[in-house]
């Protein structure tokens, strides 16, 4: 078991998946999808009308949850999707703002909630004490 960056993982996976890729250009399209798309897209915080939500910093069910402008690009290559970042015990929770202003995270991806704080709290409940980890592969 090794922990690697998301970008490395994506490249490795696309190669290993045996998907029909034409070469380096095609591979790069998939391998860089998260960073490339995030870079060219409007930031998550501006995806919908209205101001970015308020920052928060609280202990919820024993976990330190924080939200607000990201600091220094995050721990793992700055893969947050915009100008709003959420962490649980210091580890980044990947969050995204929907077009209607609601939010989701990688933990509760299919269930939009009203605010990033609500998304952070939902993730804490779902984690049941488990730590967030950078994308991990065998």
């Amino acid at each position: 078991m090794s922990t690697i960056t998301r970008r490395t993982a994506l490249g490795a996976a696309v190669g290993a998946a045996g998907l029909a890729l034409a070469g380096p250009t095609a591979s790069a399209g998939a391998a860089t999808a998260p960073t490339g798309a995030a870079r060219t897209a409007p930031t998550a915080g501006s995806a919908a009308a209205g101001p970015a939500p308020a920052a928060f910093d609280e202990v919820y069910l024993g976990r330190r949850i924080k939200g607000g402008a990201p600091h220094g690009g995050g721990h793992h290559g700055g893969h947050h999707t915009g100008d709003y970042s959420v962490t649980i015990d210091g580890e980044e929770l990947h969050v995204m703002r929907n077009a209607d202003g609601t939010w989701i995270s990688v933990i509760n991806h299919y269930e939009p909630l009203a605010t990033p704080k609500a998304v952070a709290r939902a993730a804490v409940r779902e984690l049941q004490g488990a730590p967030l980890v950078p994308l991990t592969l065998a």
Partner: protein, 275 residues
């Protein structure tokens, strides 16, 4: 020719072969590459940026190709295996045979959500969750938690009745069939089923739960059912649309397939019912 069957009608032998092929793909590492690809698109598909696999018109053709790749991988293990579909309007409780120990196993235990029976339980040591976003390496479920209900047949029919495939702004706020089927708007079909299963199915690494494939095989069938009801309604958008996959644009990560190529499923498989 591949025939995709309702999971409720599979024989014991068909279930065993499907499960064995899943376990073999898992053993060799091929299974996990599909999980990684899915999560990459989950995290990069954004409403105001480039979007391919989700929250966009190509949600349906992208997943059709994704399932075809996976089905071919299964068939490289056992040529008789096809993807079953789960009609969650009919098999709508945790007591369904879908969740029996001889098929996918059941819901998770209260303490930590861990699935403890069936071929994917941690005790079998054949289904370590390697591609993950938190520290837990075992399959988890929380079927119907909080009293949530699966979509009904009437709700499905209300979405199948929609005439238009998709509409601007071609994202999670769109009107039209695709977004109501995906579930960001309206009665919420696809997204709700992910949440109903819970555990990994509620996350970006949802294909870690094998039920992902049976769920999406049914979503795929609903697209075919909609096409049959609306033969005059084309895939949209047709051309020149920023950030989304038009009819004849190629889709990442394959870059050799367009939505137009995916419109006719009968070139690849049929269903066990008249569409």
């Amino acid at each position: 020719m591949t025939v995709r069957k309702n999971q409720a009608t599979l024989t014991a032998d068909e279930k065993r072969r499907f499960v064995d092929a899943l376990l073999e793909l898992k053993r060799t590492g091929r299974y996990d590459t599909f999980v990684t690809t899915h999560n990459a698109f989950i995290m990069s598909d954004t409403d105001n940026g480039d979007r391919v696999g989700h929250r966009s018109p190509s949600f349906l053709p992208w997943h059709r190709r994704f399932l075809l790749e996976f089905e071919r991988a299964l068939q490289s293990v056992d040529t008789t295996v096809t993807l079953p579909y789960w009609d969650w309007t009919a098999d709508r409780t945790a007591r369904s045979s879908l969740w029996a120990p001889d098929f996918l196993g059941g819901t998770g235990r209260a303490r930590d959500g861990q699935v403890t029976d069936g071929p994917f339980a941690r005790s079998g040591n054949r289904w370590t969750v390697n591609v993950r976003v938190d520290g837990r390496d075992y399959l988890r479920r929380d079927l119907g938690a909080g009293g949530r209900q699966l979509p009904t047949r009437a709700e499905v029919d209300s979405v199948l009745a929609m005439e238009t495939y998709d509409t601007a702004p071609w994202n999670s706020s769109s009107d039209g069939f695709r977004n109501h089927l995906e579930g960001w708007r309206g009665v919420n079909l696809h997204n709700r089923v992910h949440v109903w299963v819970g555990g990994q199915m509620a996350t970006g690494v949802s294909p870690n739960d094998p039920v992902f494939w049976l769920h999406h095989a049914f979503i795929d069938k609903l697209w075919a059912d909609w096409q049959a009801r609306h033969p005059g309604s084309p895939y949209l958008p047709a051309a020149g649309t920023p950030d989304v996959v038009d009819l004849r644009d190629t889709m990442r990560p394959w870059n050799d397939v367009t939505p137009a190529d995916m419109l006719d499923h009968t070139r690849h498989y049929t269903f066990d019912t008249a569409a």
